[in-house]
Amino acid sequence: MAEKIATRQAYGDALAEFGVDEKIVVFDADLSKSTKTANFQKKFPERFFNMGIAEANMMCAAAGMSTCGKTVFASTFAIFAAGRACEQVRNSICYPNLNVKIGATHAGVSIGEDGASHQMLEDIANMRAMPNMTIISPADAVETRLAVKASIEHKGPVYLRLGRLNVPVIFDETYEFVIGKGVEIKSGTDLTIIATGLLVHEAIAAHGILAEKGIKARIVNMPTIKPIDEDIIVKAAKETGVIVTAEEHNIMGGLGSAVCEVVAEKYPVPVLRIGTKDKFGKSGKPELLLKEYGLTAEDIVRKAEEAIKLK
């Protein structure tokens, strides 16, 4: 069985690794042990600033510091980063196109027991609507590390969507990550499943189950939600005729919506979406929640079979 590492863990480790670059500064809002920025703090205490439980101030202070030549990572839970501090991100970071990277951990229902108040399911929608913002939703630890590296190299705001749950490591050291590029990880011609984050692993599992049923599903990992890789979506629409999207986010405004926008304008084919159905989360064990909210390999298989009938 594959090793399991939470993407938040890989994020903290990557900050500690790439933090040798003296331009990098990390802010946190009293959650450094949970967001794992404490790993950076341990190594580079002089460039770590705890801003306390005050996310609005943290985002704007990060913006101000970035104007002085720093690459600032501002970390907190996704609910606070893209929720509470949403307008600060818009006006003080995106509007002036500043070099602030938002490390938003604890996205989705898979945080488990903390429940709905902390389960961010609307962040991609909020962040996607903001000009200048880049959104990356890594699937595993390897991709997270590369996404952090790419974020440092990219000039401008980046929203990194990270999870609390330990998830299987999918990719090996040969994996290449480029902002704005999707990756075909399984070939197939009957349909395409486009997944992001935690759901990539589920999509790979679904690929196996579908194969046993004689259905050849193409699996596309879509780590960058914005800018979305239009080419890989159009290619999938042309070559497989139907698409299923899968994400741990509201079906409104996230990956599914982004794919639908491209397909509707460039090459219309049916698109079915897996995601939370305009509902809040609730408390429970992560695995049980993923099941209850329809975010498992089995759910993807059912949706895929439904999708093929639409061809």
């Binding site: 609005a56 202070a61 104007t67």
Partner: protein
């Protein structure tokens, strides 16, 4: 400050006020009241105090200024133009579609603007970030931020004040334009933020309470702020909203309203008179 310098500053303040009127009249929108109440501090900082270079607006070692009450862009733009960041004749394009002078300060569009502001409460936080960067890099630049007294009703302002004191940002000086009025009326009627001096003290800042139209008091306060170590300073400027234009003084309605032709001409006549009295 010697007499000659003082006289020059007074003249530049009148020039700033005339530009504010020109900008708002040409645009037929914008915020004259709070721009006029803050004219002395705009003038003192940009024409006398700040280490800035109009030929190199992004100079790394420059002093920074954040207009946290971003709606007073007319005052900031006038100060920047007089300082030489862009031509004074461009000011009449304020708020128009073919001008770079956005309704609220935009750092990507306007030379000399260090931070895009307009959404109240956010500017002071960005100034905290700049001051923190200065400390980290062991640079000697100073960061100035101007807030409105209505603006401090925003909770984020107090997050920013808490963090500036926590990190002992003595390179940061905030100014409160305490003119007592906001759009909907007296600040104490809308949502009383008093006692502002005691509140700032309780947040562990060095607080200096002065007449915001008194040049010598401004100079002394800024010098005290620069000499104060280990904590940030806030200078509470007791001011008159609409200062310098008789019919605007102390009237909340002129927070965000442009004068018609008749009132514009009256304002300009008053300011010309003020200038003439300085030139005697």
């Amino acid at each position: 400050m010697d007499k000659k310098t003082l006289l020059e500053l007074k003249k530049k303040a009148v020039r700033t006020r005339k530009h504010i009127l020109d900008e708002v009249y040409a645009a037929q929108s914008g915020h004259p009241g709070g721009s006029l109440s803050a004219t002395e501090i705009f003038t003192y900082l940009f024409q006398h105090e700040m280490r800035i270079d109009p030929a190199n607006p992004k100079w790394e070692d420059r002093d920074r200024f954040v207009l946290s009450k971003g709606h007073c862009a007319p005052g900031l733009y006038a100060a920047l133009a007089i300082r030489g960041f862009f031509p004074e004749e461009d000011l009449k394009g304020f708020r128009s579609i073919d001008s770079y002078l956005q309704g609220h300060p935009s750092m990507k569009d306007v030379p000399g603007v260090d931070m895009s502001t307009g959404s109240l409460g956010q500017g002071i936080s960005t100034a905290v970030g700049m001051a923190l960067a200065g400390k980290l890099d062991k640079k000697d630049y100073r960061v100035f931020a101007l807030l409105g007294d209505g603006e401090i009703q925003e909770g984020q302002v107090w997050e920013a004040f808490m963090s500036a004191a926590h990190y002992k940002l003595d390179n940061l000086t905030a100014f409160l334009d305490h003119n007592g009025l906001q759009i909907d009326g007296n600040i104490s009627d809308v949502m009383c933020p008093e006692d502002v001096v005691e509140k700032f003290r309780a947040f562990c800042w060095n607080v200096i309470d002065i007449d915001g139209h008194d040049w010598e008091a401004i100079e002394a306060a800024v010098e005290e702020a620069k000499a104060t170590k280990g904590r940030p300073t806030v200078i509470v400027l007791k001011t008159i909203k609409g200062k310098g234009v008789s019919y605007m003084e102390g009237v909340a309605g002129w927070h965000g309203m442009a004068p018609d032709e008749e009132l514009y001409k009256k304002a300009i006549a008053e300011l010309d008179e003020a200038m003439a009295s300085l030139e005697v």
